[in-house]
Protein backbone atom coordinates (compact mmCIF):
# COMPACT_ATOMS: atom_id res chain seq x y z
CA UNK A 1 0.00 0.00 0.00
CA UNK A 2 2.81 2.42 0.85
CA UNK A 3 4.46 1.59 -2.41
CA UNK A 4 1.23 2.46 -4.20
CA UNK A 5 0.85 5.78 -2.40
CA UNK A 6 4.40 6.63 -3.35
CA UNK A 7 3.66 5.90 -7.03
CA UNK A 8 0.53 8.04 -6.84
CA UNK A 9 2.37 10.90 -5.22
CA UNK A 10 4.89 10.86 -8.02
CA UNK A 11 1.97 11.39 -10.38
CA UNK A 12 0.37 14.36 -8.66
CA UNK A 13 1.56 16.06 -5.54
CA UNK A 14 -0.55 17.60 -2.85
CA UNK A 15 -3.40 15.13 -2.83
CA UNK A 16 -4.34 13.13 0.20
CA UNK A 17 -4.47 9.70 -1.41
CA UNK A 18 -5.18 7.96 1.90
CA UNK A 19 -8.64 9.48 2.13
CA UNK A 20 -9.58 10.70 -1.34
CA UNK A 21 -12.31 8.55 -2.87
CA UNK A 22 -13.07 10.52 -6.01
CA UNK A 23 -9.83 10.32 -7.95
CA UNK A 24 -11.71 9.58 -11.18
CA UNK A 25 -15.02 11.30 -10.52
CA UNK A 26 -13.29 14.61 -9.76
CA UNK A 27 -10.94 14.30 -12.67
CA UNK A 28 -7.77 14.14 -10.57
CA UNK A 29 -6.54 11.18 -12.61
CA UNK A 30 -7.07 11.46 -16.34
CA UNK A 31 -6.55 8.78 -18.95
CA UNK A 32 -2.87 9.63 -19.38
CA UNK A 33 -2.31 9.32 -15.62
CA UNK A 34 -4.10 5.98 -15.57
CA UNK A 35 -1.78 4.49 -18.16
CA UNK A 36 1.32 5.83 -16.41
CA UNK A 37 -0.02 4.47 -13.15
CA UNK A 38 -0.65 1.04 -14.60
CA UNK A 39 2.84 0.94 -16.08
CA UNK A 40 4.33 1.83 -12.69
CA UNK A 41 2.19 -0.75 -10.92
CA UNK A 42 3.33 -3.37 -13.41
CA UNK A 43 6.94 -2.56 -12.52
CA UNK A 44 6.42 -2.39 -8.81
CA UNK A 45 4.00 -5.26 -8.20
CA UNK A 46 4.52 -7.35 -11.32
CA UNK A 47 0.78 -7.23 -11.95
CA UNK A 48 -0.63 -6.43 -15.38
CA UNK A 49 -3.92 -4.56 -15.19
CA UNK A 50 -5.93 -5.34 -18.32
CA UNK A 51 -8.00 -2.61 -20.04
CA UNK A 52 -11.30 -4.16 -18.94
CA UNK A 53 -10.42 -3.45 -15.33
CA UNK A 54 -10.15 0.26 -15.99
CA UNK A 55 -13.45 1.23 -14.41
CA UNK A 56 -14.07 4.30 -12.28
CA UNK A 57 -14.85 2.17 -9.24
CA UNK A 58 -11.45 0.45 -9.48
CA UNK A 59 -9.47 3.68 -9.56
CA UNK A 60 -11.45 6.11 -7.45
CA UNK A 61 -9.31 5.61 -4.35
CA UNK A 62 -5.93 4.21 -3.40
CA UNK A 63 -7.75 1.51 -1.47
CA UNK A 64 -9.68 0.44 -4.55
CA UNK A 65 -6.54 0.35 -6.66
CA UNK A 66 -4.80 -1.75 -4.06
CA UNK A 67 -7.75 -4.12 -3.88
CA UNK A 68 -7.61 -4.47 -7.65
CA UNK A 69 -3.90 -5.30 -7.53
CA UNK A 70 -4.50 -7.95 -4.90
CA UNK A 71 -7.40 -9.41 -6.81
CA UNK A 72 -5.42 -9.69 -10.03
CA UNK A 73 -2.46 -11.17 -8.19
CA UNK A 74 -4.61 -13.93 -6.75
CA UNK A 75 -6.40 -15.24 -9.80
Amino acid sequence: MEKLIEILENLHEGIDYETCETLIDDGILDSLDIVTLITDINDAFDVAIPPEEILPENFNSAKAIFALIEKLDNI
Binding site: H12, E13, G14, G27, D30, S31, L32, I34, V35, T36, I38, T39, D40, N42, A48, I49, P50, P51, E52, I54, L55, I75
Partner: protein
Protein backbone atom coordinates in the same frame (compact mmCIF):
# COMPACT_ATOMS: atom_id res chain seq x y z
CA UNK B 1 -35.18 11.90 -42.24
CA UNK B 2 -33.60 15.04 -40.90
CA UNK B 3 -33.90 15.53 -37.13
CA UNK B 4 -34.55 19.24 -37.50
CA UNK B 5 -37.69 18.76 -39.56
CA UNK B 6 -41.43 18.54 -39.20
CA UNK B 7 -41.34 15.03 -40.58
CA UNK B 8 -39.24 13.94 -37.64
CA UNK B 9 -41.52 15.65 -35.13
CA UNK B 10 -44.56 14.02 -36.73
CA UNK B 11 -42.79 10.66 -36.75
CA UNK B 12 -41.88 11.05 -33.09
CA UNK B 13 -45.42 12.09 -32.15
CA UNK B 14 -46.97 9.04 -33.82
CA UNK B 15 -44.35 6.73 -32.38
CA UNK B 16 -44.83 8.12 -28.87
CA UNK B 17 -48.58 7.69 -29.12
CA UNK B 18 -48.32 4.08 -30.26
CA UNK B 19 -45.55 3.38 -27.75
CA UNK B 20 -47.64 4.34 -24.73
CA UNK B 21 -50.87 2.79 -26.04
CA UNK B 22 -49.64 -0.73 -26.73
CA UNK B 23 -49.23 -3.29 -23.93
CA UNK B 24 -45.96 -2.57 -22.14
CA UNK B 25 -44.57 -5.98 -23.02
CA UNK B 26 -44.36 -5.05 -26.69
CA UNK B 27 -43.05 -1.50 -26.26
CA UNK B 28 -39.61 -2.57 -27.38
CA UNK B 29 -41.11 -3.97 -30.58
CA UNK B 30 -42.64 -0.56 -31.28
CA UNK B 31 -39.18 0.99 -30.88
CA UNK B 32 -37.66 -1.58 -33.20
CA UNK B 33 -40.36 -1.00 -35.81
CA UNK B 34 -39.86 2.75 -35.38
CA UNK B 35 -36.17 2.31 -36.07
CA UNK B 36 -36.97 0.23 -39.14
CA UNK B 37 -39.34 2.91 -40.44
CA UNK B 38 -36.75 5.58 -39.69
CA UNK B 39 -34.25 3.60 -41.70
CA UNK B 40 -36.69 2.91 -44.49
CA UNK B 41 -36.58 6.64 -45.22
CA UNK B 42 -32.84 6.36 -45.82
CA UNK B 43 -33.31 3.74 -48.52
CA UNK B 44 -32.66 0.10 -49.11
CA UNK B 45 -28.86 0.24 -49.25
CA UNK B 46 -28.64 1.97 -45.87
CA UNK B 47 -30.95 -0.61 -44.41
CA UNK B 48 -28.82 -3.42 -45.81
CA UNK B 49 -25.65 -2.10 -44.19
CA UNK B 50 -27.41 -1.74 -40.86
CA UNK B 51 -28.72 -5.28 -41.09
CA UNK B 52 -25.23 -6.49 -41.91
CA UNK B 53 -23.83 -4.78 -38.80
CA UNK B 54 -26.61 -6.24 -36.67
CA UNK B 55 -26.03 -9.77 -37.94
CA UNK B 56 -22.23 -9.65 -37.61
CA UNK B 57 -22.30 -8.21 -34.09
CA UNK B 58 -25.05 -10.63 -33.08
CA UNK B 59 -23.09 -13.67 -34.23
CA UNK B 60 -19.86 -12.43 -32.62
CA UNK B 61 -21.55 -11.65 -29.34
CA UNK B 62 -23.32 -15.03 -29.25
CA UNK B 63 -20.10 -16.96 -29.84
CA UNK B 64 -18.24 -14.90 -27.24
CA UNK B 65 -21.07 -15.39 -24.77
CA UNK B 66 -21.14 -19.17 -25.28
CA UNK B 67 -17.38 -19.35 -24.83
CA UNK B 68 -17.48 -17.36 -21.60
CA UNK B 69 -20.12 -19.73 -20.26
CA UNK B 70 -18.22 -22.85 -21.21
CA UNK B 71 -15.02 -21.44 -19.73
CA UNK B 72 -16.76 -20.76 -16.45
CA UNK B 73 -18.26 -24.20 -16.44
CA UNK B 74 -14.90 -25.80 -17.15
CA UNK B 75 -13.15 -23.83 -14.44
CA UNK B 76 -15.91 -24.75 -12.00
CA UNK B 77 -15.69 -28.45 -12.85
CA UNK B 78 -11.92 -28.59 -12.64
CA UNK B 79 -11.63 -26.67 -9.39
CA UNK B 80 -10.42 -29.74 -7.55
CA UNK B 81 -8.75 -31.71 -10.30
CA UNK B 82 -6.38 -29.13 -11.78
CA UNK B 83 -3.75 -26.94 -10.21
CA UNK B 84 -4.06 -23.20 -10.12
CA UNK B 85 -1.39 -22.76 -12.77
CA UNK B 86 -2.97 -25.28 -15.08
CA UNK B 87 -6.28 -23.53 -14.81
CA UNK B 88 -4.63 -20.17 -15.33
CA UNK B 89 -2.94 -21.45 -18.50
CA UNK B 90 -6.20 -22.93 -19.78
CA UNK B 91 -7.96 -19.67 -19.12
CA UNK B 92 -5.30 -17.67 -20.92
CA UNK B 93 -5.43 -19.96 -23.95
CA UNK B 94 -9.21 -19.87 -24.00
CA UNK B 95 -9.21 -16.08 -23.76
CA UNK B 96 -6.77 -15.87 -26.66
CA UNK B 97 -9.11 -17.81 -28.91
CA UNK B 98 -11.97 -15.53 -27.86
CA UNK B 99 -9.78 -12.56 -28.65
CA UNK B 100 -9.21 -13.91 -32.16
CA UNK B 101 -12.97 -14.25 -32.65
CA UNK B 102 -13.52 -10.75 -31.32
CA UNK B 103 -10.87 -9.40 -33.67
CA UNK B 104 -12.50 -11.10 -36.65
CA UNK B 105 -15.80 -9.51 -35.69
CA UNK B 106 -14.22 -6.08 -35.30
CA UNK B 107 -12.35 -6.53 -38.53
CA UNK B 108 -15.48 -7.34 -40.54
CA UNK B 109 -17.38 -4.42 -38.98
CA UNK B 110 -14.51 -2.05 -39.60
CA UNK B 111 -14.18 -3.30 -43.15
CA UNK B 112 -17.75 -2.35 -43.94
CA UNK B 113 -17.23 1.08 -42.36
CA UNK B 114 -13.98 1.64 -44.23
CA UNK B 115 -15.61 0.50 -47.46
CA UNK B 116 -18.52 2.89 -47.10
CA UNK B 117 -16.57 5.89 -45.88
CA UNK B 118 -13.36 5.64 -47.83
CA UNK B 119 -13.39 3.04 -50.59
CA UNK B 120 -16.86 3.41 -52.08
CA UNK B 121 -15.83 6.66 -53.72
CA UNK B 122 -13.43 4.56 -55.79
CA UNK B 123 -15.35 1.31 -56.22
CA UNK B 124 -18.88 1.98 -55.15
CA UNK B 125 -22.20 0.94 -56.55
CA UNK B 126 -25.67 2.25 -56.88
CA UNK B 127 -28.98 0.64 -57.44
CA UNK B 128 -30.84 1.91 -60.45
CA UNK B 129 -34.01 0.84 -62.19
CA UNK B 130 -31.92 -1.42 -64.39
CA UNK B 131 -30.13 -3.19 -61.55
CA UNK B 132 -26.88 -2.57 -59.76
CA UNK B 133 -24.25 -0.55 -61.50
CA UNK B 134 -20.71 -0.24 -60.22
CA UNK B 135 -18.53 2.81 -60.45
CA UNK B 136 -17.30 5.76 -58.46
CA UNK B 137 -20.44 6.24 -56.46
CA UNK B 138 -19.58 7.32 -52.95
CA UNK B 139 -22.12 5.66 -50.67
CA UNK B 140 -23.98 7.66 -48.13
CA UNK B 141 -25.07 5.29 -45.45
CA UNK B 142 -26.99 6.89 -42.63
CA UNK B 143 -25.51 6.38 -39.18
CA UNK B 144 -22.94 3.76 -40.15
CA UNK B 145 -20.18 5.37 -38.05
CA UNK B 146 -22.41 5.33 -35.02
CA UNK B 147 -23.89 1.87 -35.17
CA UNK B 148 -20.51 0.40 -36.10
CA UNK B 149 -19.00 1.98 -33.00
CA UNK B 150 -21.92 0.93 -30.82
CA UNK B 151 -21.62 -2.65 -32.09
CA UNK B 152 -17.85 -2.83 -31.70
CA UNK B 153 -18.10 -1.38 -28.19
CA UNK B 154 -20.71 -3.98 -27.32
CA UNK B 155 -18.62 -6.86 -28.68
CA UNK B 156 -15.61 -5.71 -26.67
CA UNK B 157 -17.70 -5.24 -23.54
CA UNK B 158 -19.02 -8.79 -23.89
CA UNK B 159 -15.50 -10.10 -24.40
CA UNK B 160 -14.40 -8.21 -21.31
CA UNK B 161 -17.41 -9.63 -19.44
CA UNK B 162 -18.62 -6.13 -18.77
CA UNK B 163 -21.94 -6.52 -20.59
CA UNK B 164 -24.63 -9.17 -20.66
CA UNK B 165 -25.19 -11.15 -23.83
CA UNK B 166 -28.50 -10.40 -25.52
CA UNK B 167 -29.80 -13.74 -26.80
CA UNK B 168 -32.85 -12.37 -28.61
CA UNK B 169 -31.84 -11.29 -32.10
CA UNK B 170 -34.50 -8.60 -32.34
CA UNK B 171 -33.66 -7.08 -28.99
CA UNK B 172 -30.05 -7.06 -30.05
CA UNK B 173 -31.12 -5.36 -33.28
CA UNK B 174 -32.94 -2.69 -31.27
CA UNK B 175 -29.89 -2.01 -29.12
CA UNK B 176 -27.72 -1.49 -32.19
CA UNK B 177 -30.24 0.46 -34.26
CA UNK B 178 -32.22 2.55 -31.75
CA UNK B 179 -33.07 5.39 -34.11
CA UNK B 180 -32.44 8.62 -32.19
CA UNK B 181 -28.75 7.98 -31.72
CA UNK B 182 -27.79 7.04 -35.24
CA UNK B 183 -27.54 10.41 -36.92
CA UNK B 184 -25.06 12.13 -34.61
CA UNK B 185 -24.62 9.98 -31.53
CA UNK B 186 -24.40 9.60 -28.63
CA UNK B 187 -22.41 6.39 -28.94
CA UNK B 188 -24.09 4.47 -26.16
CA UNK B 189 -22.71 1.40 -24.44
CA UNK B 190 -24.71 -1.62 -23.41
CA UNK B 191 -24.40 -0.50 -19.82
CA UNK B 192 -26.14 2.75 -20.76
CA UNK B 193 -29.10 1.59 -22.79
CA UNK B 194 -29.16 -2.21 -22.97
CA UNK B 195 -31.43 -2.77 -19.99
CA UNK B 196 -33.50 0.37 -20.56
CA UNK B 197 -34.50 -0.73 -24.02
CA UNK B 198 -35.74 -4.01 -22.59
CA UNK B 199 -37.59 -2.48 -19.67
CA UNK B 200 -41.20 -1.31 -19.79
CA UNK B 201 -41.99 2.37 -19.53
CA UNK B 202 -45.10 4.18 -18.33
CA UNK B 203 -45.92 7.63 -19.59
CA UNK B 204 -44.36 10.18 -17.28
CA UNK B 205 -45.58 13.76 -17.71
CA UNK B 206 -42.39 15.21 -16.31
CA UNK B 207 -40.11 13.23 -18.59
CA UNK B 208 -42.29 14.00 -21.59
CA UNK B 209 -42.46 17.72 -20.85
CA UNK B 210 -38.75 18.02 -20.12
CA UNK B 211 -37.96 15.98 -23.21
CA UNK B 212 -40.17 18.17 -25.35
CA UNK B 213 -38.62 21.33 -23.95
CA UNK B 214 -35.19 19.89 -24.62
CA UNK B 215 -36.16 19.19 -28.25
CA UNK B 216 -37.34 22.78 -28.62
CA UNK B 217 -34.14 24.02 -27.08
CA UNK B 218 -32.19 21.93 -29.56
CA UNK B 219 -34.18 23.42 -32.43
CA UNK B 220 -33.50 26.88 -31.09
CA UNK B 221 -29.74 26.35 -30.90
CA UNK B 222 -29.62 24.79 -34.32
CA UNK B 223 -32.06 26.89 -36.32
CA UNK B 224 -31.88 30.30 -34.66
CA UNK B 225 -28.14 30.42 -33.99
CA UNK B 226 -26.08 27.77 -35.79
CA UNK B 227 -27.79 27.76 -39.17
CA UNK B 228 -28.15 31.55 -39.14
CA UNK B 229 -24.41 32.12 -38.91
CA UNK B 230 -23.61 29.45 -41.53
CA UNK B 231 -23.79 31.78 -44.58
CA UNK B 232 -21.03 33.97 -43.13
CA UNK B 233 -18.80 30.93 -42.67
CA UNK B 234 -19.46 29.79 -46.22
CA UNK B 235 -18.71 33.26 -47.53
CA UNK B 236 -15.42 33.73 -45.65
CA UNK B 237 -14.22 30.28 -46.71
CA UNK B 238 -15.24 30.56 -50.34
CA UNK B 239 -13.75 34.04 -50.70
CA UNK B 240 -10.62 32.96 -48.80
CA UNK B 241 -10.78 36.13 -46.72
CA UNK B 242 -7.85 36.67 -44.37
CA UNK B 243 -6.82 38.79 -41.42
CA UNK B 244 -9.64 39.64 -39.07
CA UNK B 245 -12.03 37.56 -41.14
CA UNK B 246 -10.02 34.45 -40.31
CA UNK B 247 -10.45 35.19 -36.62
CA UNK B 248 -14.16 35.78 -37.21
CA UNK B 249 -14.31 32.47 -39.03
CA UNK B 250 -12.82 30.66 -36.03
CA UNK B 251 -15.40 32.23 -33.72
CA UNK B 252 -18.34 31.79 -36.08
CA UNK B 253 -17.47 28.19 -36.76
CA UNK B 254 -17.25 27.45 -33.04
CA UNK B 255 -20.67 29.00 -32.54
CA UNK B 256 -22.07 27.07 -35.45
CA UNK B 257 -20.68 23.68 -34.50
CA UNK B 258 -21.71 24.18 -30.88
CA UNK B 259 -25.27 25.11 -31.78
CA UNK B 260 -25.58 22.48 -34.44
CA UNK B 261 -24.04 19.59 -32.55
CA UNK B 262 -25.24 20.22 -29.00
CA UNK B 263 -28.63 21.28 -30.40
CA UNK B 264 -28.86 18.10 -32.44
CA UNK B 265 -27.95 16.02 -29.39
CA UNK B 266 -30.60 17.88 -27.38
CA UNK B 267 -33.17 16.82 -29.98
CA UNK B 268 -31.91 13.24 -29.80
CA UNK B 269 -31.80 13.01 -26.02
CA UNK B 270 -35.09 14.86 -25.65
CA UNK B 271 -36.79 12.45 -28.05
CA UNK B 272 -35.51 9.45 -26.13
CA UNK B 273 -36.51 11.08 -22.85
CA UNK B 274 -40.11 11.38 -23.98
CA UNK B 275 -40.03 7.63 -24.56
CA UNK B 276 -38.66 7.18 -21.05
CA UNK B 277 -35.18 6.26 -22.20
CA UNK B 278 -32.13 8.05 -20.89
CA UNK B 279 -29.34 8.10 -23.41
CA UNK B 280 -25.87 9.07 -22.17
CA UNK B 281 -25.07 12.77 -22.24
CA UNK B 282 -22.67 13.83 -24.95
CA UNK B 283 -21.76 17.33 -23.76
CA UNK B 284 -21.08 18.84 -20.39
CA UNK B 285 -20.73 22.59 -20.91
CA UNK B 286 -17.65 22.13 -23.14
CA UNK B 287 -16.82 25.81 -23.57
CA UNK B 288 -16.25 26.18 -19.84
CA UNK B 289 -13.23 23.84 -20.08
CA UNK B 290 -9.96 25.16 -18.77
CA UNK B 291 -7.69 22.84 -20.72
CA UNK B 292 -7.75 20.83 -23.92
CA UNK B 293 -7.83 17.56 -22.02
CA UNK B 294 -10.78 18.81 -20.00
CA UNK B 295 -12.46 19.99 -23.18
CA UNK B 296 -12.31 16.50 -24.61
CA UNK B 297 -13.88 15.19 -21.42
CA UNK B 298 -16.79 17.55 -21.97
CA UNK B 299 -17.22 17.66 -25.76
CA UNK B 300 -18.62 14.67 -27.67
CA UNK B 301 -18.02 12.71 -24.50
CA UNK B 302 -19.32 9.38 -25.73
CA UNK B 303 -16.91 9.44 -28.65
CA UNK B 304 -14.04 10.44 -26.38
CA UNK B 305 -14.89 7.63 -23.98
CA UNK B 306 -15.15 5.18 -26.83
CA UNK B 307 -11.70 6.01 -28.11
CA UNK B 308 -10.25 6.00 -24.59
CA UNK B 309 -11.81 2.69 -23.61
CA UNK B 310 -11.47 0.75 -26.80
CA UNK B 311 -8.35 2.20 -28.42
CA UNK B 312 -6.25 4.25 -26.04
CA UNK B 313 -6.21 1.89 -23.03
CA UNK B 314 -5.85 -1.39 -24.90
CA UNK B 315 -3.18 0.14 -27.11
CA UNK B 316 -1.12 1.68 -24.34
CA UNK B 317 -1.36 -1.47 -22.22
CA UNK B 318 -0.31 -3.95 -24.90
CA UNK B 319 2.80 -5.99 -24.25
CA UNK B 320 4.53 -4.23 -27.12
CA UNK B 321 3.91 -0.85 -25.53
CA UNK B 322 5.07 -2.05 -22.16
CA UNK B 323 8.20 -3.45 -23.80
CA UNK B 324 8.68 -0.15 -25.59
CA UNK B 325 8.46 1.54 -22.24
CA UNK B 326 11.07 -0.77 -20.69
CA UNK B 327 13.35 -0.28 -23.69
CA UNK B 328 12.88 3.47 -23.48
CA UNK B 329 13.72 3.54 -19.81
CA UNK B 330 16.87 1.54 -20.36
CA UNK B 331 18.06 3.54 -23.35
CA UNK B 332 16.58 7.00 -22.96
CA UNK B 333 16.12 7.38 -19.23
CA UNK B 334 13.16 6.84 -16.93
CA UNK B 335 11.37 10.03 -17.77
CA UNK B 336 11.22 9.44 -21.49
CA UNK B 337 10.65 5.72 -21.11
CA UNK B 338 7.64 6.18 -18.94
CA UNK B 339 6.13 8.61 -21.37
CA UNK B 340 6.72 6.53 -24.48
CA UNK B 341 3.65 4.26 -24.39
CA UNK B 342 1.29 7.00 -23.25
CA UNK B 343 2.49 9.41 -25.86
CA UNK B 344 2.57 6.91 -28.70
CA UNK B 345 -0.92 5.74 -27.81
CA UNK B 346 -2.20 9.30 -27.51
CA UNK B 347 -0.96 10.22 -30.95
CA UNK B 348 -2.28 7.03 -32.53
CA UNK B 349 -5.67 7.45 -30.84
CA UNK B 350 -5.98 11.01 -32.06
CA UNK B 351 -4.92 10.03 -35.53
CA UNK B 352 -7.66 7.39 -35.51
CA UNK B 353 -10.17 9.93 -34.20
CA UNK B 354 -9.21 12.26 -37.04
CA UNK B 355 -9.52 9.55 -39.66
CA UNK B 356 -12.88 8.49 -38.25
CA UNK B 357 -14.19 11.91 -39.17
CA UNK B 358 -13.02 11.46 -42.73
CA UNK B 359 -10.06 10.37 -44.78
CA UNK B 360 -8.42 13.66 -45.66
CA UNK B 361 -5.31 15.52 -44.63
CA UNK B 362 -7.28 18.15 -42.79
CA UNK B 363 -8.65 15.49 -40.44
CA UNK B 364 -5.18 14.02 -39.96
CA UNK B 365 -3.82 17.43 -39.03
CA UNK B 366 -6.84 18.10 -36.85
CA UNK B 367 -6.35 14.82 -34.95
CA UNK B 368 -2.59 15.27 -34.56
CA UNK B 369 -2.94 18.86 -33.39
CA UNK B 370 -5.36 17.78 -30.68
CA UNK B 371 -2.99 15.04 -29.56
CA UNK B 372 0.04 17.33 -29.60
CA UNK B 373 -1.73 20.11 -27.70
CA UNK B 374 -2.84 17.65 -25.03
CA UNK B 375 0.69 16.28 -24.69
CA UNK B 376 2.24 19.74 -24.53
CA UNK B 377 -0.12 20.78 -21.78
CA UNK B 378 0.69 17.49 -20.04
CA UNK B 379 4.38 18.39 -20.21
CA UNK B 380 3.69 21.88 -18.94
CA UNK B 381 1.61 20.53 -16.10
CA UNK B 382 4.41 20.57 -13.49
CA UNK B 383 4.98 24.21 -14.34
CA UNK B 384 1.31 24.99 -13.90
CA UNK B 385 1.28 23.14 -10.61
CA UNK B 386 4.19 25.18 -9.36
CA UNK B 387 2.51 28.36 -10.49
CA UNK B 388 -0.63 27.28 -8.75
CA UNK B 389 1.21 26.43 -5.52
CA UNK B 390 3.00 29.75 -5.57
CA UNK B 391 0.01 31.97 -6.43
CA UNK B 392 -3.01 30.08 -5.19
CA UNK B 393 -5.04 33.24 -4.80
CA UNK B 394 -4.45 34.41 -8.33
CA UNK B 395 -5.07 30.90 -9.69
CA UNK B 396 -8.44 30.62 -8.03
CA UNK B 397 -9.52 34.15 -8.89
CA UNK B 398 -12.39 34.49 -11.34
CA UNK B 399 -10.40 36.44 -13.96
CA UNK B 400 -7.67 33.80 -14.13
CA UNK B 401 -10.19 30.97 -14.32
CA UNK B 402 -11.98 32.83 -17.12
CA UNK B 403 -8.68 33.44 -18.82
CA UNK B 404 -8.03 29.70 -18.89
CA UNK B 405 -11.49 29.00 -20.30
CA UNK B 406 -11.12 31.67 -22.98
CA UNK B 407 -7.65 30.41 -23.85
CA UNK B 408 -8.95 26.87 -24.29
CA UNK B 409 -11.90 28.10 -26.32
CA UNK B 410 -9.67 30.04 -28.67
CA UNK B 411 -7.20 27.21 -29.04
CA UNK B 412 -9.96 24.73 -29.84
CA UNK B 413 -11.54 27.19 -32.27
CA UNK B 414 -8.25 27.44 -34.08
CA UNK B 415 -7.83 23.66 -34.31
CA UNK B 416 -11.43 23.22 -35.41
CA UNK B 417 -11.08 25.62 -38.30
CA UNK B 418 -9.31 22.90 -40.28
CA UNK B 419 -12.76 21.42 -40.97
CA UNK B 420 -13.80 24.60 -42.74
CA UNK B 421 -11.33 24.79 -45.55
CA UNK B 422 -10.75 21.05 -46.06
CA UNK B 423 -7.35 22.15 -47.32
CA UNK B 424 -4.37 22.11 -44.95
CA UNK B 425 -1.95 24.51 -46.72
CA UNK B 426 -4.76 26.99 -47.31
CA UNK B 427 -5.75 26.86 -43.64
CA UNK B 428 -2.18 27.61 -42.60
CA UNK B 429 -1.92 30.33 -45.22
CA UNK B 430 -5.10 32.01 -43.98
CA UNK B 431 -3.94 31.57 -40.40
CA UNK B 432 -0.67 33.37 -41.08
CA UNK B 433 -2.51 36.11 -42.92
CA UNK B 434 -3.70 37.32 -39.53
CA UNK B 435 -0.11 38.38 -38.83
CA UNK B 436 0.31 40.61 -41.85
CA UNK B 437 -3.23 41.61 -42.86
CA UNK B 438 -4.53 44.25 -40.52
CA UNK B 439 -8.09 44.87 -41.62
CA UNK B 440 -9.91 45.18 -38.32
CA UNK B 441 -11.21 48.54 -39.50
CA UNK B 442 -13.09 46.91 -42.36
CA UNK B 443 -15.55 45.10 -40.17
CA UNK B 444 -16.62 48.34 -38.56
CA UNK B 445 -17.07 49.94 -41.95
CA UNK B 446 -19.78 47.49 -42.94
CA UNK B 447 -17.58 44.50 -43.74
CA UNK B 448 -19.60 42.36 -41.36
CA UNK B 449 -22.73 43.00 -43.37
CA UNK B 450 -21.15 41.79 -46.58
CA UNK B 451 -20.91 38.22 -45.31
CA UNK B 452 -24.45 37.28 -46.39
CA UNK B 453 -25.80 37.84 -42.91
CA UNK B 454 -27.91 40.93 -42.25
CA UNK B 455 -27.71 43.20 -39.24
CA UNK B 456 -31.01 41.96 -37.85
CA UNK B 457 -29.77 38.40 -38.18
CA UNK B 458 -26.57 39.28 -36.29
CA UNK B 459 -28.70 40.75 -33.54
CA UNK B 460 -30.81 37.60 -33.32
CA UNK B 461 -27.68 35.44 -33.28
CA UNK B 462 -26.10 37.60 -30.57
CA UNK B 463 -29.22 37.41 -28.42
CA UNK B 464 -29.27 33.66 -29.05
CA UNK B 465 -25.68 33.33 -27.87
CA UNK B 466 -26.41 35.31 -24.71
CA UNK B 467 -29.38 33.05 -23.98
CA UNK B 468 -27.34 29.93 -24.69
CA UNK B 469 -24.58 31.08 -22.35
CA UNK B 470 -27.05 31.93 -19.62
CA UNK B 471 -28.85 28.59 -19.93
CA UNK B 472 -25.55 26.75 -19.88
CA UNK B 473 -24.52 28.53 -16.67
CA UNK B 474 -27.87 27.99 -15.03
CA UNK B 475 -27.77 24.32 -15.95
CA UNK B 476 -24.40 23.64 -14.33
CA UNK B 477 -25.91 21.94 -11.30
CA UNK B 478 -29.23 20.72 -12.60
CA UNK B 479 -30.71 21.08 -16.09
CA UNK B 480 -32.77 24.24 -16.27
CA UNK B 481 -35.74 22.37 -17.76
CA UNK B 482 -36.06 20.34 -14.58
CA UNK B 483 -36.11 23.51 -12.53
CA UNK B 484 -38.78 24.90 -14.85
CA UNK B 485 -40.90 21.80 -14.39
CA UNK B 486 -41.38 22.95 -10.82
CA UNK B 487 -42.64 26.34 -12.06
CA UNK B 488 -45.36 25.40 -14.53
CA UNK B 489 -46.49 28.90 -15.51
CA UNK B 490 -43.00 30.18 -16.19
CA UNK B 491 -42.02 26.90 -17.79
CA UNK B 492 -44.92 26.84 -20.22
CA UNK B 493 -44.47 30.51 -21.02
CA UNK B 494 -40.86 29.79 -21.93
CA UNK B 495 -41.99 26.84 -24.01
CA UNK B 496 -44.39 29.08 -25.96
CA UNK B 497 -41.74 31.76 -26.48
CA UNK B 498 -39.25 29.15 -27.69
CA UNK B 499 -41.77 27.77 -30.19
CA UNK B 500 -42.57 31.18 -31.61
CA UNK B 501 -38.92 32.26 -31.68
CA UNK B 502 -37.96 29.12 -33.61
CA UNK B 503 -40.80 29.50 -36.10
CA UNK B 504 -40.15 33.17 -36.76
CA UNK B 505 -36.39 33.57 -36.38
CA UNK B 506 -35.26 30.09 -37.39
CA UNK B 507 -33.23 29.59 -40.54
CA UNK B 508 -35.36 27.06 -42.34
CA UNK B 509 -37.46 26.92 -45.45
CA UNK B 510 -36.92 28.83 -48.65
CA UNK B 511 -35.98 32.21 -47.24
CA UNK B 512 -37.70 35.30 -48.47
CA UNK B 513 -36.79 37.27 -51.56
CA UNK B 514 -39.43 39.90 -52.21
CA UNK B 515 -38.36 40.35 -55.84
CA UNK B 516 -39.12 36.69 -56.58
CA UNK B 517 -42.79 37.44 -56.03
CA UNK B 518 -42.91 40.19 -58.62
CA UNK B 519 -43.76 38.57 -61.90
CA UNK B 520 -42.91 41.51 -64.12
CA UNK B 521 -39.68 42.00 -62.18
CA UNK B 522 -38.22 38.95 -63.80
CA UNK B 523 -38.37 40.53 -67.24
CA UNK B 524 -36.95 43.98 -66.86
Amino acid sequence: MNFASFEFLAFLAVLTLVYFLVPKKVQWIVLLLGSVVFYAFAGFVSFFFLLFAIVISYITVQILGKRIESLKKYLEETKTTLTKDERKAYRAKHKNTSLVILCIGIFVMTLSLVYVKYLSSMIGFKITERGISFGKYALEIMGISYYTFISIGYMIDVYRERAAVERNFFRHALFVSFFPQLAMGPISRYADTGEQLKATHSFDAKEAWCGFLRILWGFFKKLVVADAIAPAIGFIVSQKLGGIYFILLCLFYSIRIYGDFTGGIDIVLGSAQILGIKLPENFNRPFSSKSTAEYWNRWHMTMGNWFTNYIFYPLSLTKTMQKLSKWGRAKLGTGVGKRLPVYTATIITWLATGLWHGIAWNFVVWGLLNGVVILISQELNPLYEKFRARFPKLWNSAPYQSFMAVRTFLLMSLIRVFDCYCDVPLTFDRFFSTFYTFNIGEIFKGGLLELNVSLTQYIVIAVGIVIMTAVSRLSAEKPLREVLWGKPILGNAIMAILCIAILVFGSYGLGFDASAFIYGGTFN
